[in-house]
Symmetry: C2
Subunit: 630 residues, 2 copies
Amino acid sequence: MSRPLTARVRLVQMEVLPGRPRENTVRILHEISAARAAGVELVAFPELAVPGYLIGDIWERPAFLRECEACGERIREASQGLVAAFGNVAVDWTRCNEDGRPRKYNALFFAADGAFHAPDGVPQPFVVKTLLPNYREFDESRHFFDLRKLALEAGVDARAWLRPVRVRDLAIGGLLCEDAWDADYTVTPLAELARHDADFFLNASCSPFTLNKNHKRNRVFDAQARAAGRPLLYVNCTGIQDIGKTVYTFDGESCIYDGSGHQTGELAPFEDGLVTADIPLRGGGAFGRDVTLADDETPSISAALLYGTGRFMQRLGVERIVVGASGGIDSAVAAALYARLLPPDRLLLLNMPSRFNSRTTIGLARELAVNLGCRYAELPIENSVSLTREEFAGLVVQGPGGAHIGLPLSPAALENVQARDRSGRVLAAAAAAFGGVFTCNANKSELTVGYTTLYGDLGGWLANLADLWKGQVYALARHLNDVVYDRPPIPAGCFTVTPSAELSLAQAVDEGKGDPLIYPYHDCLFRAWVERWQRATPEEIYTWYRDGVLEREIGYAGRVADLFPTARAFVADVERWWNAYQGLGVAKRIQAPPVLAVSRRAFGFDHREAQLGPQDTEAGAAVRRELLKK
Amino acid sequence: MSRPLTARVRLVQMEVLPGRPRENTVRILHEISAARAAGVELVAFPELAVPGYLIGDIWERPAFLRECEACGERIREASQGLVAAFGNVAVDWTRCNEDGRPRKYNALFFAADGAFHAPDGVPQPFVVKTLLPNYREFDESRHFFDLRKLALEAGVDARAWLRPVRVRDLAIGGLLCEDAWDADYTVTPLAELARHDADFFLNASCSPFTLNKNHKRNRVFDAQARAAGRPLLYVNCTGIQDIGKTVYTFDGESCIYDGSGHQTGELAPFEDGLVTADIPLRGGGAFGRDVTLADDETPSISAALLYGTGRFMQRLGVERIVVGASGGIDSAVAAALYARLLPPDRLLLLNMPSRFNSRTTIGLARELAVNLGCRYAELPIENSVSLTREEFAGLVVQGPGGAHIGLPLSPAALENVQARDRSGRVLAAAAAAFGGVFTCNANKSELTVGYTTLYGDLGGWLANLADLWKGQVYALARHLNDVVYDRPPIPAGCFTVTPSAELSLAQAVDEGKGDPLIYPYHDCLFRAWVERWQRATPEEIYTWYRDGVLEREIGYAGRVADLFPTARAFVADVERWWNAYQGLGVAKRIQAPPVLAVSRRAFGFDHREAQLGPQDTEAGAAVRRELLKK
């Protein structure tokens, strides 16, 4: 019998439920049946499709591991008449992980006709992930043993174990996610596999959405497929998975790189679906269509936020939402997002004015609620704030040296009292009475420098705008008005009113007074501190300023000299915000709600930080002195 | 010239300031001068003594790395006439880490006479850490490249690079912390070094305090020194270092294991100091004294809490403390701890009764303040809670289908309103007015199952009791009364009053009503879920119950049958708390304050978790069904 010229393959882009092996397995078994009925030869599922990926330290529970193994056995038994490739944890109960627990591998299993099939000459009946990422939110060395260590232990060169799996009529080069992102590693799995006549490569991934990552993946994977001259199948999951402080969306975008510069079958982001294709085996031809790339990031952000927020609500059983609506842009965007995810009677906007809130912003909050058709109420906080002020003024404090009367609250303390009164008192109680939760509308610019009140506007069940710089919030607001909604819900005044906390007379929006941040510039400055891969500090900022390249380095479109007439003013501003970022900002982030990740560096698990106080360097201090002498 | 028979060595147990290379270097240079003057041949400093260890992702800042390198150069230059061994980050700017950043090693440098000295035959002029821990709070693969990967890249067996450093007249086997905790690794650095006639071994560590860890280290290190037949010098730092959610103390406890079963020169925990000793070189004799171990854990806990809290106050510049004093044991212990760290006029106890608080507990809070001689005030929250209730009852809610009046608060909602009123309104404002911070007095039992209110009693600057089970809090209270203080400050009534939140009539302490937790039993149950190395789930709990071994497995001294008359009642209780632990408990911990670590598993960075909802296994469900059938 001669070898066929093509093989029908199917990629299953599915929502993987983290920590729910039984539910995921039911889905996998269903897709295997459907694939068999469709004459598919290989059906492929994402990395760790059985257990899920971001599940914290649940990997340390033997009971959970046993259940994942049992699920894998069920899939093995169901693999009659085709190849089912799926990600699962593989456990070697006889050997030790480096943490003293049973050894675990992040593994890709090839089940066919009731058996698991190993790569050529490899003792384990599965593909062991070679490259375990340990940056950003990735933390795989904590729980998994990699192929390099395994080979070292066996006295074998790891490269000798990078071989295709030969199963039924196919030779498949199996890879798991990072295995194909090998630029910074000394072992390059795909190149090794390519030496051994694989028909094609399969990369099973569990790869979180990051803004613009899809473009990069297309470049990297396409180049790899072309270098090998064979197709590369990429299957990724959808869904959301979180790691405490940070919630990640998974966009799928599974597709096939055909080995000649084309890409085919790309699925829509954030939707489950199947790619089915007849792949030419060795000696076959090419197929495909050109890749087109979208340049505007805002539609991606909008899609990720709607998807991630909706899925997180579903996961936690949240069906009613209270938004503290100030009339500003952040809460307006939050309300407009939630209004897409809930019937209007389950969304409550609450405006909570004190004496410092303008009729302007109260009117904008009301207009927003009318536009959205949702519930709306006003609960002034003046009485409560007055009560607190009076109670403290009359407090009798006993103690060393006798009693005294009064522990008066300063104007600054009273600003925070207002913010906490709104969230800690009103919104939390309103959420309980309404049968839901309340939102945190903080943006990334505020969160970076802690321009927010703990137990106040920093409270909430989820901070879904907290990975967006202020400028991105405005862009998202325009996108919601212009594209997502038929009739623009966000009032025009929200775009033009001065951004302000309205907690004192110094923040009166009708006089054009508001936040101390110059958002277009500070967004760029803060991004250099937080998101640059080689992270900048004041040392770099001062040096770039001295050398006249600051605008270019941080991507600021204006002129810094227009904002700060002197070097002294410039330095004072950098210091003020650096100290806030590294000082109280850290303390506030530690107690902040979970952040929905969008950027290449979200606060939370992907941005480890300690309460060390502001850092500087001697070299930075020297440039600073140089600037101040001018 | 003949080789001397002994060498004078000195271990410098110093507080390492995380992220402060210049300050640490000043201290190191000072100690080098002092050691030279004392005729010391080798002066040894802890692991990463220059940069600090738990500094989050500051490792990603090139400016910081350059500064650490410059500090290392200064130490090199100062190493005239002796050997200075110190931990620092080593950077190879020409090569890539696996995260695409400059490559970094956790390195031990041997500087002598102005030069760095490499181990025999090793190309790098420093010792590269071989074993990088990646469990608990350890996360070294995120930033550091290890000796195993480095050797693999060079095509060398890592063992060939485990050689002593020969410098001046000494041959020293250099190790960094985990290198000597090699039981679960395939490479065993000390055994390799021992093949190559080292005079002695030096283990430079940055090892956080964990309850009972010191006993284990004495066993492990002593056995290693005896197996090698040579002394092992152990130098560890003091101080505190935190990683966002979790604050670690470093106890030092540096000493010398002499190779014949004795230990010498052990320094007091949590204190800086020097061990100076004349070490016999090869052919020399032995010395030392027997190891004595303390069995009671409470003095250790007390010392770690006082040290860690005091240092954290110092670090963040906290000089005034407000404690919400309920009359219960937790806040009494918190107040008694802070009273050791502050002058009495800088400690303010605030009792905030509502209608549900008994005269009993108010009296206990007042008595505590009198005993401590600190400031004290009572601020009833009844007016504020009533105002909130009335405002919600009269709220006008507009919306789909017209306006309606009232968003009434249920009794359960009003319990949380009280808790948030106390912390989010009163304590936070009191802290601002008093010029300090307020404390979180939550214990680990409550935090495990989320028996606490977000923005309420779960607020605060630091949760320094949150790694203690309720039983440990009582033991600590007795220790404070009996040992730490001359006159017992904690009233006897705090020990006998029923633990209660006093938020409703159902929690009336004078009727013996209170918390729904049976602490002696639930402490043990929760510990099995949280702290067991192989973490238990309901599957194990049900199985042990069925098999009659539950009490032994979880260490409960009573009989479970006395608490739960039927299997049904037992199962219902396990489910209730498991669901709380895995459900809202996670959400609350995400926004909790930093926890001061004591146990082998503190909440926070050492206990990664996601909001997945309660987990179970099929096997667990089967045992559960079996139990319910009985």
